[in-house]
């Protein structure tokens, strides 16, 4: 070997690119140059003897391997499973007890519930309680916090929800169900859904007829009163979505698509998201530059008050309602 071996990284890259010059030179040389013995001329007896010797060697090797394999195989089938089971159980027990101990240790180290000098009793929550109403105009502190003081966090949370909805649609959507030429998977899903759909259940239909308007109205009330009473966009939207699901369950896709189609829900989602992003960008821009936003806060307690919180709540509620309903129909037959 006169020239040095190239570095490991170079050889790896060469191997990746099928470059033969960087292969292991020693090995290539040994494989390509014939050994001295094979070069020598052999008499037939010698040749036979060597063949027999090699044959014997191969047989011995084969038998030894077979025996070893049998030993391992027998051990694995008879004892190995049990041993592995014990190891698995022991490890599981160990890990579980470690986690339990760790969590208990953390729980013990927590400050007592509701104590006065707990870390959460600091100037931040004091500020929220003392001047929250003047600064946000919302009587419901929670709405003031999540849609005003900490709106940036809420924006991130909505992004997470949006990404989750996108991945569900990517995984479960089968295509446009209103198209003229549906695919085989869509037809199968359609048949499966028809097959399992409640067959005009009168009890369910009567209950839905009575309950759906009330549920939708209650959801809308929660959304509109988000800045005045407990609730807000997310919970109200979830209630409205549940109402739509009940209607769909009782009356089927055909009747529901008279007033709520995939296209409509998509447009509502787009517009609500864009409105949310626009409003929030405006308030981030003015807030970061210490400008007056010019949005009247109104009288706390009135329905038209608290600045941007009411429209933001409506946007969030509409998005959540559409998302819930879309999730439901996607789970059921991969489209609307």
């Amino acid at each position: 070997m006169t020239n040095k071996q190239p570095s490991l990284l170079k050889r790896f890259l060469g191997w990746m690119n099928d470059d033969e010059s960087t292969l292991d030179r020693e090995l290539t040389q040994r494989l390509s140059t014939p050994s001295e013995e094979s070069l020598r001329e052999l008499s037939p007896e010698e040749f036979d003897a060597r063949e027999a010797r090699e044959e014997k060697q191969r047989e011995d090797l084969y038998l030894a391997e077979q025996e070893q394999f049998n030993r391992i195989h027998n051990w694995a089938t008879h004892k190995g499973v049990a041993v592995l089971n014990w190891v698995y159980r022991g490890l599981a027990l160990l890990v579980c007890s470690f986690i339990i101990l760790f969590l208990l240790r953390t729980a013990v180290a927590l400050p007592p519930f509701g104590a006065e000098d707990n870390p959460y009793n600091n100037e931040v929550s004091q500020r929220y309680i003392e001047s929250g109403i003047q600064e946000t105009g919302a009587i419901n502190f929670v709405a003031g916090m999540i849609l005003d003081y900490r709106a940036f966090d809420t924006f991130g949370e909505s992004t997470v929800l949006f990404v989750a909805a996108c991945s569900v649609i990517m995984l479960l959507k089968l295509g446009d169900h209103s198209a003229e030429h549906p695919s085989a998977a869509m037809l199968e899903a359609e048949f499966d859904d028809r097959h399992h759909e409640p067959k005009n259940d009168e009890v369910l239909q009567l209950a839905a007829k009575v309950l759906v308007p009330v549920i939708l109205l209650f959801g809308f009330y929660i959304v509109l009163n988000g800045h005045l009473s407990p609730g807000g966009g997310f919970s109200g939207g979830a209630v409205m979505g549940a109402g739509l699901m009940l209607y769909l369950n009782a009356f089927g896709f055909e009747k529901t698509s008279r007033f709520f189609t995939y296209k409509l829900s998509r447009w509502i989602s787009y517009l609500a998201l864009m409105t949310y992003a626009g409003l929030k960008s405006y308030s981030f821009f003015t807030g970061a530059n210490h400008l007056a936003s010019g949005i009247p806060l109104g009288i706390p307690g009135a329905i038209l008050s608290s600045g941007l919180i009411l429209p933001l709540n409506v946007c969030v509620g509409l998005i959540v309602m559409c998302t819930m309903y879309t999730f439901y129909s996607l789970f059921r037959k991969g489209g609307m």
Binding site: P230, G231, F234, A238, V239, A242, F327, Y328, F331
Partner: protein, 88 residues
Amino acid sequence: MNLFTVIVLGFLVICAIATSISKNLLVSVVIFMAYSVLMSIVWMFLQSPDLAITEAAVGAGVTSILFFITLKKIHAIRGNEEEDAHDK
């Protein structure tokens, strides 16, 4: 902590254990629903009605419905299987 709180918290623990050890998946989901309802009552005790409403709507309502559809899709609800066998 009054008696009612103790009872609700006790049922919460029972529901949590029963969800994980019940053999039937449908029963598991129904117990999980009960767990969510109890949890929303606990949120009321902890003075967070916002979370209570969300827990009741999402935890007990929407999540369970999605679980039900999934169980139906994988034919884990026994009534469906019998119906299918009858149809065939």
